[in-house]
Amino acid sequence: MARQSTIRTEAAAVVTTRHLSLGRSRVRAAWLFLAPMLLVLLLVAGWPLARTIYFGFTDADLSDLSSYEFIGFANYLEYDEGEWYGLLADPDWWNAARNTLYFAVISVSIETTLGLIIALALNASFPGRSILRAAVLIPWAIPTVVSAKMWGWMLHDQFGVLNDMLLGLGIIAQPVAWTADPDLAMAAVIMVDVWKTTPFMALLILAGLQMLPSDCYEAARVDGVHPVKVFFRITLPLIRPAIMVAVIFRLLDALRIFDLIYVLTSNSADTMSMSVYARQQLVDFQAVGYGSAASTLLFMVIAVLTVIYIVAGRVNLGEGGR
């Protein structure tokens, strides 16, 4: 009896150690498999970001990146002979920050509303639904630069088709200079962005809609609840998580917007975003130190807003929702 049990314990011990070593070698293999990916990520993301933050504290110049001096926080804020200098005292920076926030909030709100409408329409069954779904994907597939150029042509002040349409409908009395008029330039940018990214929003919300259980709806129909009430009481609360995630993805994109604004309205102050401002300093004015400080600030703004949004909105991003 006693002997048998020792054998059994020994056998169990052998099995455990084998299992353990297998587990350990598995973890070692996992790190080996991760290494190339992590190295590349470190090379293209970690290192450049660290350098950008470092450059933000120097007076580096694009023409010669090897010689620069450490100047502390002077790029951000400096007091010299009765005057404030640096990013935080630069009205152009604050203008860019205001433009970016305005653009992000307005465009994402419109996109969410339109995206919800399109998603609800796509969720209904009707003949030709797949054609509609395909059509909606087209703006998403078009490169941003191309959509900026296409819309630039449609918004042309003299020969643009949009002016022609609006004149024909009698909405405007004379042609409008969409991209040149300071009051309209931002509206034009928002219009193009809404056109380009609403499909993304609609598809994400549609995916959320298609996961809804059908029994609540049947119960509501049996009880004769008004469809509008069903939407606000059942549908909206149930797809809130999907909308929240879609909104944060879009917000992050909107806050770093560059291509569309750069191509549609160039370096105009009326629409300049933080990314456009930072690149202008970095490349056009060759002020790598100052531009890097602006980039770092933009990075901080986005990081802080993301954390606030995730915490306040209780968005579940961890481990794929598990």
Binding site: A30, P48, R51, L137, P143, V146, F258, V288, S295
Partner: protein, 275 residues
């Protein structure tokens, strides 16, 4: 009566959505066939098929070379992203180890980086490697855009594969490399096609790096080439050429997207809703 009215309103909404989505590109196609003063008249339908703008795009600048650059960059980015993504996803999706959740969140965090935040650091690095004004440098730079979501999406797919498959292979004494390439790869094709396509589109459309890291016309990729097409003067943009170039680079992407419609939608939602 009320039902018919509702039906009519719904049909109207659907028509509006389709027009809204399709008209701008349709109008670009119409405009691309107009030359000279025809451009200054507004037409809603094409009236003659004049290919002059298409010929001019290739004659007036190295557009064929630009397309080659774009294809090269996008294809290389897809290959590298998928290779690194698959190996990374195996470790992140199938093996439990300490710090896995933290690692996944960090990777997700990288996908939130504004591109401009790495611009000066990347510029220095690309110059250091001697890749300034060279499309090869863009391959490296674009990895920051494609790698995080490739890893993320492939990990979610990899995690959902049945555990028995891997156990059977382990009992047969298969190494992790064999498991990834022989057992998982065949099952992961749909996910790889999806993420590969998304990575291709991201690299094909990338603008900021391509604009900053290339200098001469023949090293540029298509988005930069199109953005910088200029006419005789600054106020006289050759809209016909621009529209023709836009149609050329957009049609293949639209074709790809429509063919792989379902896969792309599932990839987008796996990356966002689940992630």
């Amino acid at each position: 009566m009320r039902k018919i009215l509702l039906r009519g309103a719904f049909a109207l909404l659907l028509t509006a959505i389709i027009l809204f989505a399709v008209f701008p590109f349709y109008y670009a196609i119409v405009s691309s066939f107009k030359v000279g003063s025809e451009l200054f008249r507004i037409d809603y339908f094409p009236f003659n098929w004049n290919w002059d703008n298409y010929a001019a795009v290739f004659a007036e600048q190295p557009f064929a070379r630009n397309i080659f650059n774009s294809v090269l960059v996008a294809a290389a980015v897809v290959v590298f992203s998928l290779f690194l993504g698959m190996t990374g996803a195996y470790a992140l999706g199938r093996v439990k180890f300490r710090g896995r959740g933290m690692l996944l969140l960090t990777i997700l965090g990288v996908s939130m980086f504004p591109q401009v935040a790495v611009l000066s650091g990347m510029f220095e690095m690309i110059r250091l490697f001697g890749l300034y004004n060279n499309p090869l440098g863009l391959i490296l730079a674009n990895m920051i855009l494609t790698l995080p979501f490739t890893v993320w999406v492939l990990t979610t797919f990899m995690r959902d594969l049945p555990v028995e498959l891997e156990e059977a292979a382990l009992v047969d004494g298969a190494s992790p490399w064999v498991i990834v390439t022989q057992v998982f790869m065949p099952l992961m094709w749909p996910a790889m096609v999806t993420t590969g396509l998304l990575a291709f589109i991201a690299a094909w459309n990338e603008f900021l790096f391509a604009l900053t890291f290339t200098l001469t016309n023949d090293q540029r990729t298509v988005p930069v080439a199109i953005a910088l097409i200029t006419g005789a003067s600054e106020h006289e943009l050759p809209w016909g050429n621009i529209m023709a170039a836009s149609v050329i680079v957009t049609l293949p992407i639209i074709a790809l997207v429509l063919i792989f419609q379902r896969k792309i939608v599932s990839g987008l939602t796996a990356g966002a809703v689940k992630g």
